[in-house]
């Protein structure tokens, strides 16, 4: 797995506590609550683009506290994914889902 967060951010630890995953690594059936939406958790693009993506994710409802469930995965490389987000359904690529950190149900804390 390729985790390359920068230190210092709210969720910027190199490894996540148990029961906390990035949406991009979640599997079908995983459900929980959005813990953080963070440009620091994204990879690739420059910081401006990451912040833009953060705002896009927020605007479409990926916001801290939202209930989330991974409903479907694509047939090539399990990508893209379809998630249930509160009352709506959203499709996105796993690449875009990197910035969304979720606490799985049943996890401590």
């Amino acid at each position: 797995m390729n985790v390359q967060w920068r230190q210092g951010s709210a969720v910027g630890a190199a490894s996540l506590p148990a029961g906390v995953v990035r949406l991009s690594e979640a599997r079908r059936g995983d459900r929980g609550v959005v813990l953080a939406v963070s440009p620091d958790a994204m990879t690739g693009a420059d910081s401006e683009e990451r912040e833009e993506l953060e705002r896009r994710l927020l605007e479409i409802g990926f916001v801290e506290g939202a209930r989330i469930e991974l409903l479907h995965e694509g047939f090539i490389g399990r990508d893209p994914i379809a998630v249930r987000l509160d009352d709506m359904r959203v499709a996105l690529r796993r690449r875009e889902a990197q910035g969304v950190i979720i606490t799985l149900d049943g996890a401590a804390g």
Partner: protein, 620 residues
């Protein structure tokens, strides 16, 4: 000044999340016929309509593209932002905003409303799709909601025209109390501000909305089949397959009827109109030309019937989900699938709907390959050649061979669109493509009235084209095929001496390597104006050449070799699109460069494809 004007005119704009029913409401308010469908991003430009309010105001209504935020990224969202903020050249901001919300999904629109309120414009909330909310047992405290957001709230069912009166009354009342010019205090929100407005929206929801007692479980159940990695793909392919089988097998009886009608008409003309120029114009020019295009009306209606059904059901976003990885492999944006699927109908709305794609390069790539998708104007050409050259056989007891060849041509179009996109991305624009985030709407049972209305609308458009562009091209072609007359004592058919004959014979050497005869050369030139014209032109040229109107398919079967016919099909997979498509590309890209590049690459591909097809087929 004159006598006081009791009420002043009003400009209102419909704003809201995608797919919340803005256009349905626009149609209900103004009696318009703008496109309504069950996916995000149907409307991509501003549209104006008019109505008279109960208080006697003349109201101009603007329908706008849906958006989640005024912080626009893609060209369609920019339209909404610019209209709302009054940034469009020569246009002031609307006097009043009608926020349109999907009552079953209020969270995001409440957040948008908080943003819209910063503009300072008076606003009214239309709580649309209240029928679905009631069915699901969602309890909304309208008074509390209205108090919290500080604007009147009216419930509506746009598709049934319910609540329109109340909405107009609320608009009148709001407009009457607030006519002060306001200064917009909107600024592009930061991530923190978006979070804050989310919290505020959440607070309002807690106060005013009770969650559904009977939530919609159908969408989830249907999705578990339609989005399943295996059954989803199988069903997607099956739908495409069925569509083209139906285009062939259902249309035939009606087509035969229309054909018989035109034959009868041509006979009447030959029998009753004195032999001569007028008879030739009507029989060869109008009836053979336009008639040979019009017979394809049933097929076009069937194709649209399927597309509209899928759009209303809510399948388009699912198809985009299933195709995303394949599109991504070709370097296309995931949202490109819907514009490309719309291009099955016509490349023009397809190219327009690329406005939902935010990144310029992604959008250009999609625009450049959209005309490779088989638009409905190719149906007449494909069908004509297929019915003339491909035996009407049934394979394995149920598959029509002709339908299968048709499907093959569609697949060839799609595959080449992907391949060309891939090359464009590799050669011109390397780099990652943009985020793909898309709402999957709840499924809806298609409304038969809406489906019927839309299919008839498409038929009307087709007939109008036949009556204008195609008819006038046909008369021109008839004229060119008739004058100058054959000199006295000359040998050979008269058409050889006409302008068309001269043009055809001049171009023919250029087209000889791809197996085209001079009649085809004549048809190709006007075929640039609109593809169907090529069929009509063949109808006219052969009717004049043969000296009598006949069944075009039979005539072609007698005159063309199989390799020629196949090369002609290959040509039209790629053939340079109609002039109006090039015009739209120019408009949407704001540069002549792109339509020129498009024309050149397509004509080159068409020639090469026809060349290979002809040369290979001739070896057998």
């Amino acid at each position: 000044m004159n006598a006081p004007v009791p009420v002043r005119d009003l400009r209102i704009a419909l704003v809201g999340n995608p797919n919340s029913g803005k256009t349905a409401l626009f149609n209900a308010l103004t009696g318009g016929r703008a496109k309504v469908a069950n996916y995000a991003g149907v409307t991509v430009e501003r549209k104006e309509g008019f109505l008279t309010s109960p208080a006697g105001r003349r109201v101009s209504v603007l329908d706008l593209p849906g958006t989640y935020s005024l912080r626009a990224r893609s060209p369609d969202e920019e339209v909404t932002r610019d209209v709302v903020l009054g940034k469009r050249a020569g246009e002031r901001a609307p006097d009043l905003l009608v926020c349109v919300a999907d009552a079953t999904n209020l969270r995001l629109v409440l957040r948008l409303i908080l943003e819209l309120k910063q503009t300072g414009q008076p606003a009214v909330l239309a709580l649309n799709m209240i029928d679905i909310a009631q069915r699901q047992g969602i309890d909304i405290d309208l008074e509390a909601l209205s108090r919290e957001i500080g604007m009147p709230v009216v419930t509506t069912v746009a598709t049934r025209k319910r609540g329109i009166e109340d909405l107009l009354i609320a608009i009148d009342e709001t407009a009457a109390v607030s006519d002060a010019q306001t200064v917009s205090g909107w600024h592009s929100p930061s991530a923190g501000e978006i979070r804050d407005s989310h919290r505020e929206a959440e607070r309002i929801i807690k106060i005013a909305v009770r969650p559904p007692k009977r939530p919609d479980t159908w969408t989830g159940k249907i999705d578990s089949v339609l989005l399943h990695p295996v059954s989803g793909i199988v069903i997607l392919l099956a739908i495409l397959f069925l569509m083209f089988q139906a285009v062939f097998s259902w249309a035939t009886p009606i087509m035969d009827l229309i054909k018989a009608g035109f034959d009868w008409l041509a006979m009447q003309v030959t029998a009753h109109v004195p032999n001569g120029l007028i008879q030739s114009l009507i029989a060869d020019g109008v009836i053979s030309g336009v008639g040979s295009v019009l017979v394809f009306l049933p097929q076009i209606m069937i194709l649209f019937f399927f597309i509209i059904l899928l759009e209303d059901f809510g399948y388009m976003a699912r198809a985009a989900f299933l195709m995303d990885r394949i599109m991504g492999g070709a370097g296309l944006h995931g949202r490109a699938f819907i514009p490309l699927l719309s291009s099955f109908a016509c490349a023009i709305p397809g190219i327009m709907s690329t406005r939902v794609i935010d990144q310029k390069r992604d959008r250009l790539t999609t625009i450049l390959v959209a005309p490779l998708m088989t638009c409905s104007a190719r149906i007449p050409i494909y069908t004509l050649i297929i019915s003339a050259f491909i035996p009407n056989k049934t394979l394995w007891g149920w598959v029509s061979l002709q339908g299968l060849v048709m499907l093959g041509l569609y697949v060839a179009g799609m595959v080449s669109a992907l391949a060309v996109a891939f090359i464009f991305r590799k050669v011109f624009w390397r780099g990652a493509s943009e985020p793909f985030i898309m709402e999957l709407p709840a499924y809806k049972t298609p409304d038969p009235k809406n489906v019927a209305r839309n299919v008839l609308l498409r038929a009307e458009i087709f007939l109008k084209r036949a009556g204008t562009t195609i008819l006038s091209m046909m008369i021109l072609i008839w004229f060119l095929s008739t004058v100058p007359f054959k000199p006295a004592g000359a040998v050979g058919p008269a058409i050889d001496y006409s302008f068309a004959g001269i043009i055809g014979h001049t171009l023919q050497p250029l087209l000889a390597p791809i197996g085209f005869n001079w009649q085809m050369a004549v048809a190709l030139v006007p075929g640039m104006a609109a593809r169907e014209v090529a069929v009509g032109a063949l109808g006219t040229v052969y009717a004049i050449g043969e000296g009598q109107p006949g069944q075009l398919a039979t005539t072609l079967a007698g005159h063309w070799s199989l390799p020629t016919a196949l090369a002609f099909l290959a040509w039209y997979i790629f053939a340079p699109q109609c002039a109006s498509t090039l015009g739209v590309v120019k408009r949407e890209t704001n540069a002549w460069r792109w339509p020129i590049i498009m024309f050149v690459y397509m004509i080159a591909l068409a020639y090469v494809a026809a060349l290979i097809t002809f040369q290979v087929a001739s070896r057998f």
